[in-house]
């Protein structure tokens, strides 16, 4: 069963995406997006990317979704809409869950699916081996290379963030 853990996590990932793509009131959508961020982090962690998974929690959930949360709290309504309070939302939610379960059953029937490319089930828990990488983690070294090989990338992203801040200040100036 543990060999299927990544596949099960990805099914729960899609189900939580159904939860906010059917668009209940934004506060509940934000809550479900936090859950799906946590599950996405778990998927990345299962392939060995510990730094990238923690980046999801820190930057994505802790930075971006907190901003979304208090902006939603600013512009919300008195009776927010849940999934069961509106028939269209409930129907879309149940349709999404059922189609995901049917897709999962079709995939798990035999271990191979061919849509445009050939997907097989071995790649979930075993990774292509390209030799020994020593005692360091490849992903952490690759991210650390952002500051040596990717200096120009750091300059461009820093400048675009500064420009973004200036653009936002101009947009929210009003009048």
């Amino acid at each position: 069963m543990m060999t299927y853990i990544v596949f099960i996590l990805s099914i729960v990932f899609v189900m939580s995406f159904v939860g906010f793509a059917t668009k209940p009131s934004p506060i509940y959508g934000g809550l479900v997006l936090i859950i799906s961020g946590g599950i996405g982090c778990a998927i990345v962690l299962n392939f060995g990317g510990s730094f990238l998974g923690l980046m999801v929690f820190l930057i994505y959930l802790g930075g971006m979704l907190v901003v979304f949360g208090y902006t939603t709290a600013m512009a919300t309504e008195q009776y927010p809409e849940v999934w069961v309070s509106n028939k269209a939302v409930l129907a879309a939610f149940i349709t999404g869950l059922l189609s995901e379960l049917l897709t999962a059953c079709y995939i798990l029937k035999d271990d191979e699916v061919e849509v445009v490319l050939k997907f097989n089930g071995m790649g979930d828990w075993v990774i292509y081996d390209t030799g020994d990488s020593g005692f360091f983690s490849e992903e952490a070294m690759g991210i650390a290379a952002l500051y040596s090989y990717g200096t120009w990338l750091v300059i461009v992203t820093g400048w675009s963030l500064l420009t973004g801040v200036l653009v936002i200040m101009e947009v929210t100036r009003g009048n």
Binding site: M55, V67, V113, F119, L153
Partner: protein, 98 residues
């Protein structure tokens, strides 16, 4: 290619359709945009970790930086709409009448 990609592609397509079909709030479409960014991040990280593309590991972080920029811009536009009309309902954006 591993089987988890099918589900991540499905998640991306779901958020894309959720962003394109409006209901009442503009904020829901912005949340679906964030969902698209999350599924792209997971897809990119899984590909890079599976195929040992070491130097490409900086790409998901750069993607997060630009996603943060775009989320902040979308939120500032939503704040201006909410300041003008009181709520962020999509039906308020009706100046273009054609």
């Amino acid at each position: 290619m591993s089987m988890v990609y099918i589900n991540i592609f499905l998640a991306f397509i779901l958020s894309l359709m959720g962003m394109l079909v409006y209901r009442s709030h503009l904020m829901s479409s912005l949340l679906c945009l964030e969902g698209m960014m999350l599924s792209l991040f997971v897809m990119m990280s899984v590909t890079i970790l599976n195929n040992h593309l070491t130097l490409a590991s900086m790409m998901p972080i750069v993607l997060l930086v630009f996603a943060a920029c775009e989320a902040a811009l979308g939120l500032s536009l939503l704040v201006m709409v909410s300041n003008t009309y009181g709520t962020d309902h999509v039906q308020n954006l009706n100046l273009l009448q054609c």
